[in-house]
């Protein structure tokens, strides 16, 4: 039994006063005073509009903001009359609490899960505090499948530009789909719905002193839900517009955090994916539509230059990570002119699989291994951009689909290499 999470005395008293709830919405924050007001308004309106008969609590789990984020949450209210909502029957409770433990989104979620457990919440959702495009409908789409359809986990499905979320498109979605056999389009979306039962399951895992507490909580929640046998679905939420991520975090660090989390989960759940083949669609709720999204400017030359430099300078390190024939294929790209340079889908799938095995085998310090993949990732992203120039986002989606099929097709390669490593 893992230790219970310590709550601040005021939070504890507030939880005891509320006693029970049907719905709990968690908002982790850290210096988001300029955006969190909109998020709280959307959440409040969503609860009033779609769940007016249910007891609801909004929890803001704050990491010690210095810009008055908790004050903004406390004084934010929504004019329900202006939204033609007149039959709110249950009051909306707000809990504003600091979280304890390692600083990070994971620790903020842990506090939210703990409050959900103590309040015996039936359905929960977490939404980012930097969202600019959240609407009241998001709350319905994240909560309704749990309350009415019996799902345990609701992953988001966003409308995104074809070059928005390239790590998701080229690694996280294809890899998660090929490994666990479920086509969850946004496994690291950041906004999720889940049942109270699943929140308890999350709390019971011994991961809260690990990197999960700092970063990687999104992919951990998705993977843990799948591996625990939870019923999983997706909800269409429309466009996701949010503040840029930490500008100080560079691409290599981002890649290290995301890939490190997914590779560590592969180790922990190898029994859940090793013998699976193919994939199945996951139910999608909502009303998907296509619309113009913010344009994204891409500098392909810079990405190709980075790939070429990696090929010239990091070759000895890549040789330790990649299998011989895979490395030869990568090296064969050396003299190819920029306009013809492509990292094909199957080669990319093998590169990611080799990296996962090398991570498991600790062929070099893990941080080095993950960061050394950055030029390869940029080469692959450049390939995707060159292949999809002039295509609409939905046409580009078919390229992502074909990449996913390659990941699935190459799964026996991963299985063979993984088992080979385990037995030697």
């Amino acid at each position: 039994m893992p230790p219970t999470v310590e709550l601040a005395p005021e939070t504890d008293a507030r939880v005891q006063a509320i006693e029970e709830t049907d719905i709990l919405i968690g908002i982790p924050s850290y210096n988001n005073a300029d955006t969190i007001g909109h998020v709280v308004r959307a959440v409040s309106a969503g609860l009033a509009k779609y769940f007016h008969g249910s007891r609801s609590v909004v929890v803001n789990s704050d990491g010690g903001s210095s810009d008055g984020t908790p004050d903004v949450v406390a004084r934010t209210s929504v004019d329900l009359g202006a939204m033609l909502i007149r039959d709110r029957q249950s009051p909306l409770h707000k809990i504003i609490t600091p979280y304890h433990g390692i600083p990070g989104k994971g620790s903020a979620f842990r506090t939210i899960f703990e409050i959900a457990r103590r309040l015996k919440a039936k359905a929960c959702a977490v939404v980012d505090s930097d969202l600019r495009s959240i609407t009241p409908e998001w709350i319905e789409m994240l909560i309704r499948p749990v309350l009415s359809e019996g799902y345990d986990y609701v992953a988001p499905y966003y409308l995104r530009h074809k070059y928005d979320g390239t790590i998701t498109n080229s690694i996280m979605y294809p890899l998660t789909r090929a490994l666990y056999g479920l086509r969850i389009r946004q496994p690291i979306g950041g906004d999720f719905g889940f049942s109270g039962r699943l929140a308890e399951h999350y709390l019971d895992q011994h991961v809260w002193e690990s990197d999960v507490a700092r970063f990687g909580i999104d992919i951990w929640m998705t993977t843990e839900a799948i591996a625990s046998g939870a019923r999983v679905c997706q909800s269409f939420l429309g466009a996701k517009i949010h503040n840029p991520k930490d500008p100080a975090a560079d691409l290599a660090t981002m890649l290290m955090q995301v890939l490190g989390a997914v590779f560590a989960l592969m180790e922990a759940h190898h029994h859940a994916w090793l013998d699976l083949d193919g994939s199945n669609p996951v139910p999608l709720f909502g009303f998907p539509y296509e619309a113009g999204v913010e344009p994204v400017h891409v500098n392909v030359d810079r990405m190709l230059a980075s790939f070429r430099q990696g090929l010239a300078d990091l070759e000895p390190l890549w040789r330790q990570v990649l299998a011989g024939d895979v490395m030869e294929q990568v090296c064969s790209l050396q003299g190819v002119p920029d306009q013809d340079l492509r990292i094909p889908d199957e080669l990319w799938a093998k590169i990611i699989y080799d990296a996962a095995v090398a991570y498991r085998a600790r062929v070099m310090p893990r941080e080095h291994l993950l960061k050394a993949l950055t030029p390869l990732y940029l080469g692959r992203t450049a390939t995707f951009v060159m292949d999809t120039q002039g295509l609409t986002s939905s046409e580009a989606e078919s390229r992502v689909e074909s990449l996913c099929e390659s990941f699935e097709k190459q799964k026996p390669y991963l299985r063979e290499r993984w088992k080979q490593f385990v037995t030697t």
């Binding site: 300078d313 990091l314 070099m364 050394a372 992203t381």
Partner: protein
């Protein structure tokens, strides 16, 4: 005649025989100690080699780049074998010194004392060299990856300089530990490092002044990267 033979031949022989009898136990003790020591060295060396293979030292060293470095240095034995040989020779040298001490000869005893007193320094120096080597490889890898990801063209040179810097520092510390030309080592290290930094600064100032100017301008003005816009959102 008999008296003459007694005095000139048998006397010295008797004396020699007495001296031999006096030293014989010591010689026997030496032979015994050295033999037992070598036997123990063989056993321990063999045992350590097997133990290292069981705990997969070779694989660990392979990951740390030690095997590659050994091959580059012309050493064909694997790390487990080397560890076994190191233990063998350490015990063998101890046994030999202990055996020589058993002879109870003044110069030998003096040498043995000096040698035993020097061993901790030798051990520390070896540790410094090994740790310095491993650290230099780690630093080389980290600097190379960071420089490549930052798009710095001389990434390999920067990484190589970092590696040599760490190895140079390790050698200087090891030599100081061994008491070899302490002052020269410290001064030499200072001059070399200072020279490298100065040379790098001059080279950068003269050879890459446009790059430096461009970099500073972008930093100070907060202007866009001249290589073109890129607001790709990876996450």
């Amino acid at each position: 005649m008999e008296e003459f033979i007694d005095q000139t031949v048998l006397g010295p022989l008797t004396e020699l025989g007495r001296q031999v009898l006096t030293i014989l136990p010591n010689v026997l003790a030496m032979v015994l100690l050295v033999s037992a020591g070598f036997l123990m060295a063989w056993g321990l060396g063999h045992g350590v080699e097997r133990l290292m293979r069981v705990i997969k030292l070779d694989q660990l060293c392979n990951r740390l780049g030690v095997n590659a470095a050994l091959v580059r240095g012309g050493v064909k034995s694997d790390p487990s074998r080397l560890a076994g040989r190191a233990v063998f020779w350490a015990v063998a040298v101890f046994a030999t010194v202990a055996g020589l001490s058993a002879l109870n000869l003044q110069p030998v005893n003096q040498f043995a004392r000096s040698f035993l007193g020097y061993i901790p320094h030798l051990f520390t120096a070896s540790l410094i060299l090994v740790a310095g080597y491993l650290l230099s490889n780690f630093v080389w890898q980290a600097v190379l990856i960071t420089a490549v990801n930052a798009g710095l063209p001389p990434a390999r040179m920067i990484a190589a300089l970092s590696r040599w810097g760490v190895q140079l520092a390790a050698v200087a510390m090891a030599l100081e530990q061994l008491g070899i030309a302490k002052t020269i080592v410290v001064v030499g290290f200072g001059i070399t490092l200072g020279g490298i930094v100065l040379a790098a600064a001059i080279a950068f100032g003269l050879g890459a002044k446009d790059l430096a100017k461009d970099f500073m301008e972008r930093r100070l003005s907060g202007g866009p990267d001249s290589r073109g816009p890129d607001d790709l959102r990876h996450m």
